[in-house]
Each structure stands twice: as C-alpha cells, then as structure tokens.
Symmetry: C2
Subunit: 165 residues, 2 copies
DNA sequence: CGGTATCCCATTTGATACTG
DNA sequence: CAGTATCAAATGGGATACCG
C-alpha cells in the first residue's frame, strides 16, 4: 500500500498518522506547544531545512492545525498559531513526552518538567476512564469495530485493501 | 539536521519520535494492540511491503518494544509480542485514536469503540492531572526545562545544534 | 523576516521472486 | 509461515542562493 492511501483507511489511528505522522511535523508541533510561532523560531527550534519546514507548515495550515496570521503591530510579521484542532493534539505530545521520560531518559532525568498551573503541582498527566476514574491499562480496554460482522470488500484494485479498524 | 540525530536531542518527544515516529511503525503497533502477533497478520493488517515490515519489526525488537518469541505448540511459528515498554505506548495510540475520532471521522462515526472492561463502560480515556484530578488542557500546563538558565553550547560542528527541551 | 527555487544525492518504497 | 534478495522508481532531504 502507498502511504498516501493510509489516510483513506477506515481507522482513526491511520487517518491521524496520515496527517501528523510525518516525523518533522510532530517536532514542529512540539515547538508550537512550547510557544513558538514564527518561521525562524521553528527553523532553529527543530533544525529542519527551510524548504521542508515551509512545506510542512503549509500542510499543517491546510489541515487546519495551525493558522497563519499576520501579526499585529509589526508589519510583515507572520505567526503560526495552533487552532483548536491543533491544541487538541496536546495529549499526543504529552504521551510521547511521558514515554520518553520513562523509557529513554538519561542519567540527568527528564529534560522537561510539567507543572499544572491550576493546581500548582509538578505533575505528569495520566489517562483515566472518565466513567469510573480508574487508570487506563491497555489490557483493560476492548476495541469494538463499528460494524462487527459486516466486512465490505471492494472490487480490489491492485493491492488496495480495506481495513475495518 | 539529519533525522538520525534527532534521537540525540535532549528532548523526550524527539527521542520518542526517533523510535516510533516512523510512519509504518505506529501502524504496526496499532495492530499489535489489536492482538496481532504474526508476520503475516501484520502484513495484511497494515498493507506494508514485506521487506519494510521485516525491517520495522527488527527495529521494534531491537528497541525492546516487541519481543520475538517462538510460539509453543506450532513449530516454526514466530510471534511478536508487546513488551512492558511496548504496552506503555498505549496512551499514544489512544491519543491518536481519539483525535482521529474527533476531527477526522466521516458520517458513520468512529470506526472503533473502546470499552473499559473493569467498569463496563463504553468510554474514551481522558487525560487528567493525577494530583488534582482535573482534566488537562494544554493552556494549563507549563513546561520547565531541567536547567533553566544553563545553556550548553557545543563547539558547533556543522549545523549541529543542541536543543535543551 | 518569511519564505521560494534549484540542484542533486541518499534513502525509502513497492513489487516481485525466491528460500528454509 | 517467516522471512531475504534484488532492483527500479519515487520521495525526501540538505545546502545554497535568491526574492519581496
């Protein structure tokens, strides 16, 4: 399968990956969450080549994750800001941050510490079930396909498959 | 900057991306969480080319995320199982699933529903602060670098930078 | 500052065939 | 079943130069 068709799969994970799964893209988003807004900030922050950065920013804007606005006050100043859709990616960043802290940290400990402003605690977000409040463990979750026994099989063009996930 | 050196950055997000940021890799992991264990299951599940799959599986095993075991009972049968380190990636998958459900779903609704076995509820995990129990919003979090004002600047070889994030 | 344009090499990929 | 081997084609990526 071509990567371009991954976004067409009937799977939210695949669709998400098709948009933010590109490696530099997530790094750009990390910077966005750290408050970066300008082209050159992203460039130095991520170390990405300028032409690639340009292309990735354009894609993020096209996908409604960043919005490109002319900054007030200074003329010719452009800012890229996270939209609601973009801000909603925060759990993804946090999940990576946390996993990295847990499994990839060096002897100095986590490079970054998070503080929850509203309660003042130095903390790391955890995933819970909103119904019962318990921590989520992978083994406790069951995934149910939308249409359990109804497999749509398309006429099969080449290696084109459908994945009902 | 070369992508290979991203893993060396002093940033947990970057380090995590260096390992699981590859596009097919996350798709393989999605399948792993859905219970897939065999080479061919992954192959049909993801649609990835066999040689690439082979290479990705090897990397995942090398990184301690999957373990390659000879299945008992059937001879010559290999299984790839999530290790503890791999299972710990679950929040990442869920975060993607949820974002995709929210922002990329078609008119049929989410392709997959999650059920929390322990409480029986059809649910979607949320991120909360373990201290105060409140939902986490990006704006409520502040990130503090480990060594706030101490910037190490290396002799600068080529475009090599350091990012203290 | 905020990009585009271009060049050109390195890597990835997909398909296919083959092996123990 | 679980891969390897091979190879052509596409893509990605870095450097650099240039523009409004």
């Amino acid at each position: 399968m071509r990567w371009d068709s991954v976004g067409d799969l009937n799977c939210s994970v695949a669709r998400t990956l098709a948009i933010v799964g590109e490696r530099w893209t997530m790094l750009i988003l990390r910077d966005a969450f750290l408050g970066h807004r300008r082209f050159d900030e992203f460039q130095t922050g991520t170390g990405i080549a300028r032409n690639i950065l340009s292309s990735r920013l354009r894609a993020l804007v096209a996908n409604g994750i960043l919005e490109r606005v002319k900054a007030e006050g200074e003329v010719g100043r452009i800012e890229y800001r996270l939209t609601k859709k973009g801000i909603d990616l925060y759990p993804l960043i946090v999940a990576m941050l946390k996993w990295g802290d847990t499994w990839l940290a060096d002897e100095h400990g986590p490079p970054l510490t998070l503080i929850h402003r509203t309660c003042g605690a130095r903390t790391t977000p955890v995933m819970v079930c909103p119904q019962c409040g318990q921590h989520i463990a992978a083994r406790d979750m069951v995934a149910i396909p939308r249409r359990p026994a109804h497999h749509v099989r398309r006429p099969a063009r080449g290696t084109h498959r459908q994945a009902s996930r």
